[in-house]
Symmetry: C2
Amino acid sequence: MARRKNRPATQLDPRSQAILRAVIEEYVSTAQPVGSQALVDRFGLGVSSATVRNVMADLEDAGYLTHPHTSAGRVPTDAGYRLYVESIAPGISLAPVERLMIRHQFGQVEFASEQWFRLAAATIAGVTHAAGLATPAKPRSCRLRHIDLVANSTRTASLVVVLAEGSVKQELIPLDQPYEQGQLDDVERLLNVELAGRSARQVANRVEQLAADPRTPALGVRISGRIERIMRDVDAASIEDVFSDGLLNVMEAPEFSQSEKLRRVFAVLQNRDYLGSLVRRLAEADDVQVLIGAENEPAEMQDVSLVLATYGRSTGALGVVGVLGPTRMAYPQAIGTVRYVSGLMNELVEQLHR
Amino acid sequence: MARRKNRPATQLDPRSQAILRAVIEEYVSTAQPVGSQALVDRFGLGVSSATVRNVMADLEDAGYLTHPHTSAGRVPTDAGYRLYVESIAPGISLAPVERLMIRHQFGQVEFASEQWFRLAAATIAGVTHAAGLATPAKPRSCRLRHIDLVANSTRTASLVVVLAEGSVKQELIPLDQPYEQGQLDDVERLLNVELAGRSARQVANRVEQLAADPRTPALGVRISGRIERIMRDVDAASIEDVFSDGLLNVMEAPEFSQSEKLRRVFAVLQNRDYLGSLVRRLAEADDVQVLIGAENEPAEMQDVSLVLATYGRSTGALGVVGVLGPTRMAYPQAIGTVRYVSGLMNELVEQLHR
DNA sequence: AGTTAGCACTCCGCCCGTGAGAGTGCTAAC
DNA sequence: GTTAGCACTCTCACGGGCGGAGTGCTAACT
């Protein structure tokens, strides 16, 4: 008998690894616990089902597989997926056909930078049949490009702040007294001259000087303070938006047919804080990161996995693209797709920031 | 016996109306078919269950109620909800407590106009326990406020177009030859002088003249053409974004416990075209509009109702706020909330555009 | 005429036992 | 170390029986 109990954390022998792999791939495609007979039928492993049973029992002892109940087939555990993913991840690359298709799609929006991350999410969703996620690249520190100041009524004006990376913030400024548009134009000109091209920190310094200078009009002081705060907020926020596409794909997975589990997934996605913390953790990683099910703290994540990668790091900005799907997910394809798309996004963003 | 078959489309007598109303309210709160006994127990109608049964049979003949099966209680039909909604809608207004709470929340973001519609969706979701929807107000025709033109590399520049209502579009411009930032500044200045403050149509005219003028630099011609196209696209689009909040509330409803129906709902929400066509239809309506279940063409809408209202019309802009929930929905509250929030949004937008 | 008590009837949902099927773990032979 | 064989376990699907909820009808009452 092949069974060795209390196995230490040694390497798995190749046959065990092949069987683990076969179990996972079969389970991923059928969503049913897989039995020993089914494995030899479909994978022709060159051994009998009895041998496979012994090996599977070993894998269960080692924590890579489980049993829903005594007389059911095996199902991978999170640890099993983890081992699998780590063994395949380095060599994966997307099929040339799919690369070509993706590159073609991105070619269509090459000059519409606002569309890039939407397309990234959509593409990933389409290729992997799971949900695609993407955030716009957010620079570590923003620079002011331009402000506009326009009267709306006698009581309010609009302040539009255009930042160097193309993001834009808008605020209303309450006016204590009526101003002519001409007066607003003067303030606008002054502030553009004084503040444009500066980072949040530099703006803060300059704002202090402006406030101390008796020649600065009161409105200018107030508005420059607003600008400073807006830029500080932008720098402090870790992600602004997470775009997702193809959530319907996830809803189709049989493991989410009872809506309770599905609800948890959506709750995660609406939780900005959690995604923000993920991005922070990812920021140091170089390659695609795979987060499998309950390995991750929040209980909501129990039944889902994330495959994530950053892009734009070489330009000082940081964005994320990824896949969200059931733990029982086609990891090779997901990893390949995310790796390829993040590379593509890198190219695009570099071309923009250089 | 009270039964009169083949009832013409006459008014319902008051007692029938009261019973229809009671059935709906009971069904809305319990999600179970309601029986005659349950009605007299909980509503004390002053008649016996037998009488109620007779009336309910009449209401069923008239098409306002149905039977899931012979020995089950009654369930409202879409026509029943419709009659109910029409009988209550005119008089509904939100409870003062909730008004106060909502107004307070809006007070917090009074000067952050980008937040308004997000807050509207969130507030509606919170008060009604269904999903809240909101779109930003989109003017019938946009005006150019300002453009920025910035070099990214020797091969591309960024064009940022700020429109008068505060929305912003960004595009990359491929450069056939390297330009200095100084040259770009010249073009930027020229175009701002020539085009700022103009509508899409006016811009189009001016662009033609500029193109004909031999003194206009080639880059200026190209970029002005881009600006024209961008503005034309903005005017042509019917809605840009639909923000939704509280989708989790909808997922909790027992009618969506099988995920198939839920999928349909989400499919609707992702369908921009459908929502756009709704907005167009709504544009003429004055008050809150209620769309009940399968009254509406697409089969996906079968189990959901929409309560929608426009805002901002007096300023020439048009936005929508609303509720999406199961057909079995607390209509009075939904109508009251949507009516109140749309009024509030009106105030805010008017203050901005005047 | 409208209202009501009484009652037979219908149909769903639930419980329970049964049997088929799938897959395991163990033993003994190769 | 591998494999055939076999007993065992557990799930799932099916079907019958039963209680309960609610109806529709009839006949009596106001």
